[in-house]
Symmetry: C2
Subunit: 214 residues, 2 copies
């Protein structure tokens, strides 16, 4: 991936998890082969877009045969970095933090939530899925000692930068941020933001625009 | 907006809530004017991109003056459909549903959560922020009678389509979907999906790619 010719655009990265989700459904149904046209019907992208996307990664299809569902699924897993385990902590164990913890615990293979952290004394000491909530003051040291890969930020916007700083100092590789703020982190750490507000406002835009067209 | 020349691309829609967020922060700080270069420093898009985006909506800037923060903020609100109220229901009052309910209740002006629904008898009858959880069987009739605008789906993937069907039959304008599944809804209803899994996999891709570059 060092060659700039093979630099993968952000748009493709955004589509790959979606390919993965549909391929996984096909696998579960026992489907072994799929064409770009069939994928197009399922996913809604054009067949040409799909072929172009998958070619970016070296082209897993064979002319007149289509794609091997299992092979393509596994290759996409590799590309997405899902062929390894991630040690993960969640910071901020309110409703959202609990929801994300449960979600990851029950549905996500490869993401081990080994630490939960909060600043609220009423929450510190409680257990969720067998993991006890620790005090926020222990976060940085814990991340360093346990070699945590991913920190998930579920605190409010006022505290999010402080949490990010502790995660970065402790040495995480990536941050999954749910706080509605753009965090300042060094280039050595990657970040993915889930800005709920922006998603909700996209919805109202679509509603508003629809109303105007009627 | 009926003219196809002024048809707004999905990419711009995605950026507008972000402009709005930064403009709101400037307003709170008492800043009255801002140039595209200053916006660029804040938001990270190029100044040329910003001018192009804002021109799409008629150009709110004046040469040599920049943009009026308050005016631009209000205009973006109008474009995003945030100058009106939305009657909203949340379906699925687990941790995620509670988190979204609290988030909307405390932080979002214009979104009135008037109904909460669940299928679990242990949850039906509980109250959150003064709203009592009703049984899912009442959803469709409630949506119709109360003229609900937006339905928020926080149930699991297995039940999400059934919930969407009830919301659509009841007459919602839009759906904010947190279930990890692509829902089938008529074109007359708009949908915005928050696919947490795809966001998480984007993060692992970025981590994986970073590791390869090192």
């Amino acid at each position: 991936m060092k060659d700039s010719n093979t630099k993968i655009s952000y748009a493709i990265i955004r589509r790959l998890p979606r390919y993965r989700r549909y391929l996984n459904e096909l696998r579960k149904k026992g489907v072994s082969k799929v064409s770009s046209n069939e994928l197009s019907d399922l996913i809604g992208y054009t067949a040409s877009q799909i072929r172009q996307d998958l070619n970016t990664f070296g082209g897993f299809g064979q002319q007149g045969y289509g794609y091997s569902v299992d092979h393509l699924y596994k290759e996409i897993n590799k590309i997405l970095g899902l062929d390894r385990e991630y040690k993960t902590v969640v910071v901020g164990i309110g409703n959202l933090g609990q929801a994300i913890t449960n979600y990851t615990y029950y549905y996500k293979i490869g993401f081990n939530i080994v630490g939960l952290f909060d600043i609220n004394p009423k929450v510190v000491g409680l257990s969720f899925n067998g993991v006890t909530v620790r005090d926020f003051s222990e976060l940085e040291e814990y991340v360093r000692k346990e070699k945590i890969d991913i920190g998930i930020i579920c605190v409010n916007r006022e505290n999010a930068q402080e949490v990010a700083d502790a995660l970065v100092s402790g040495g995480v590789e990536g941050i999954w941020n749910f706080a509605p703020v753009d965090l300042e982190i060094p280039d050595s750490v990657v970040i993915e933001n889930v800005h709920l507000s922006e998603s909700l406002h996209t919805l109202t835009f679509l509603i508003h625009n629809k109303d105007q067209e009627q």
